[in-house]
């Protein structure tokens, strides 16, 4: 795998949302994604973790150009994504697909499952004979471990986990290179979450996929990813070169301390955790995490740390990293 160029290269990506209260109100600007630079290596799982409002879902949509970036560049396999025309982009979408968080609303309630699975071919203008179509649907069902008897059902007749499998099958239909997984298990039971994660692992090996895996669950990301990107309020605060690396940013440590292991002998004392995530509409001028950080010193409040990469690939944006 080494020496291959990354599948996706993101440089200085910004997304600013503007909203206005009423016709004459002051426009409010929110920087959802702030100067994000990131490589997504081929055949690997890049995990992005963070809490609500950290910009991880916005980042996912920017990478696939489901949202238009305010500035910056995204290169997909050498193609400058943000310069593609509407038509060229539509063709490129064959190679990059997304699995959505909510399996309940990601399928049109009026479509049968078979129609939903055939829609990717239809929108890409790929004509299939009836026999081919049937074959494709059966192959996709088999791929995600579902019984083909569901073909003529409607989404509401399936459980959440089954629907998410259909969401994955739909994304796989066009044989993409990149799959962006936006919290694909967040609305499922833990038992079903484990099923879906196992399925995604299997598919990655069989099809040689590259994943961008978005989640709020650091343990899940650590389990599933090769590299971990930690975001806080629109910025990358840390990039862990491998899933086992010890966190250097206090926020990553906080996230780790907030997850409960299924082991009563490892109970945590969380009384040290305090504070709320600040409003993304008016960010402090210094480090955004300083107000909640136990290690914060005066310089953290006045200046903003930039992301600095160590020789081992471990990057952190902190004046006083833990290690």
């Amino acid at each position: 795998m080494p020496s291959l160029s990354p599948l996706v290269t993101i440089r200085d990506l910004n997304k600013i949302f503007e909203s206005r209260k009423g016709l004459f109100g002051e426009p409010r600007r929110m920087t959802a994604v702030n100067q994000v630079s990131l490589d997504i290596p081929r055949g690997q799982v890049t995990g992005v973790v963070g809490e609500s409002g950290c910009g991880k879902s916005t980042l996912a949509r920017l990478v696939l150009r489901l949202l238009e970036a305010t500035s910056g560049s995204i290169s997909f396999d050498g193609v400058d994504l943000l310069k593609q025309s509407h038509g060229a982009m539509r063709l490129l979408r064959r190679r990059m697909q997304m699995v959505f968080q909510d399996p309940y609303s990601s399928l049109d309630p009026r479509y049968t499952i078979a129609d939903a699975l055939l829609e990717p071919f239809k929108v890409q203008g790929i004509r299939l004979t009836t026999a081919e179509a049937r074959q494709k649907v059966e192959a996709l069902f088999a791929m995600v471990g579902l019984d083909a008897r569901f073909a003529q059902n409607h989404p509401h007749q399936l459980s959440g986990g089954q629907r998410q499998r259909i969401g994955i099958a739909r994304a796989l239909a066009l044989e993409p290179d990149l799959m962006v997984l936006d919290e694909p298990t967040a609305s499922l039971d833990v038992s079903i979450q484990a099923q879906i994660v196992t399925l995604l692992e299997k598919l990655k090996h069989e099809l040689g996929l590259t994943y961008l895996f978005i989640s709020h669950d650091l343990n899940l990301v650590r389990y599933f990813s090769d590299r971990i990107v930690v975001m806080y309020l629109g910025r990358i605060v840390e990039i862990l070169p491998d899933a086992k690396a010890a966190p250097r940013h206090p926020y990553t440590q906080t996230l780790l301390d907030s997850t409960f292991a299924p082991d009563p002998t490892q109970r945590r004392d969380i009384s040290r955790l305090t504070g709320e995530i600040p409003s993304p509409y008016n960010l402090p001028q210094g480090c955004a995490f300083a107000a909640r950080c136990r290690h914060a010193r005066p310089d953290c409040l006045s200046r903003r740390p930039v992301l600095e990469t160590r020789s081992d690939g471990h990057a952190v944006a902190c004046f006083h990293p833990l290690t």
Partner: protein, 323 residues
């Protein structure tokens, strides 16, 4: 005699029987976890204790719910109304819908104290602010005057907890109180609930699907599957040696720190719907160890010498082996 003692509870909702012979007890200063996937009957158990089954067209068919010596299944509704909110408090999953959007949050806490404790305006207000401070709500006196929409999700959930505490209840039932919250906020809420149990001696029933939360916060745990108790034990024993295959599987679903890739195992299949429970052990179609006996005969809930309870034909019931 425990504060709350539920025995052999079966309920009936329009001819279907989603709970079958449930039993557990919880005492003051103790936290009982009720775990299971969606559809296992966790929330219905809470509704039964609150006497709210008639709201969804259900009734207690058999069994008893004794609270502080009173038999709740035969309690007339007016008496029940004096119990609810006053001695048994209920915290729901969704803090966004539990608060009235047009009333200041502090006044909503006041209302509870006025109704149940007969406190006057200023005394109720002092009482509310005191509770808010105990829940570590920053600047409680200011937050008192805010409306729900001005607060974050975690802060709203704290207000909901404050309302539950306002009448000094003996028992708090919390139904997935942290599911909708960010991980760092979830950790704080779990910590707060734990302190209440330790310092105020309330009894807490924590309904959750997350074995991590159980390990962190509970003393005893009841594992429900498809409306029946699969296993019940102290938290330390159940994590040290889970006996029921379902308990083992539930714990195996959670990605742990430093877990090897590929070692996560989901539970195959789905929780059966109430209308189509399989014969014999209801878990047998998903169980890796099921035998022909499991398909035919319902396993009875056996009480072991240590106080552990288990309903399984194949599980190891020798206590010495695990002592």
């Amino acid at each position: 005699m425990a504060l709350l003692d539920v025995q052999d509870l079966s309920i009936d909702i329009g001819g279907i029987k989603p709970l079958d012979s449930i039993g557990f007890a919880v005492d003051k200063g103790e936290t009982l976890g009720i775990v299971g996937e969606s559809g296992s009957g966790k929330s219905l158990t809470a509704l039964s204790i609150m006497g709210l089954l008639p709201l969804i067209g259900g009734r207690v068919e058999r069994g008893s719910i004794r609270f502080d010596g009173m038999e709740l299944t035969r309690l007339p509704e007016p008496d029940y109304r004096r119990l609810r909110g006053r001695r048994i408090a209920f915290i729901t999953q969704n803090p966004m819908t539990s608060l009235d959007p047009v009333i200041r949050v502090g006044e909503q806490i006041d209302q509870v104290a006025r109704l149940h404790l007969g406190l006057s305006g200023s005394a109720a207000r002092r009482h509310s602010i005191e509770i808010m401070e105990r829940l570590r709500i920053p600047e409680a006196a200011t937050t008192y005057h805010n409306y729900p929409h001005q607060l974050s999700g975690g802060m709203k959930q704290r207000i909901v907890i404050a309302m539950a505490l306002a009448a000094n209840p003996d028992l708090i039932i919390a139904d997935e109180p942290t599911t909708a919250l960010d991980v760092t906020i979830q950790a704080q809420i779990v910590q707060i609930l734990g302190e209440l149990v330790r310092e105020k001696g309330v009894a807490l029933i924590l309904i959750t699907h997350d074995m991590g939360v159980v390990a962190q916060a509970c003393d005893r745990v009841v594992v429900l599957y498809a409306g029946r108790v699969a296993e019940s034990n102290t938290v330390s024993a159940i994590f040290a040696s889970p006996r029921h295959p379902y308990t083992q599987a539930l714990i195996g679903c959670i990605p742990r720190n430093a877990m090897e890739r590929g070692s996560l195992v989901g539970i195959p299949g789905l929780v059966p719907s109430v209308a189509r429970y399989p014969a014999g052990c209801r878990f047998h179609p998903r169980c890796t160890r099921s035998e022909s006996l499991c398909e035919r005969e319902v396993p009875v809930l056996e009480r072991l010498a240590s106080g552990a309870e288990i309903a399984c034909h194949v599980a190891d019931k020798h206590e010495a082996a695990h002592a």
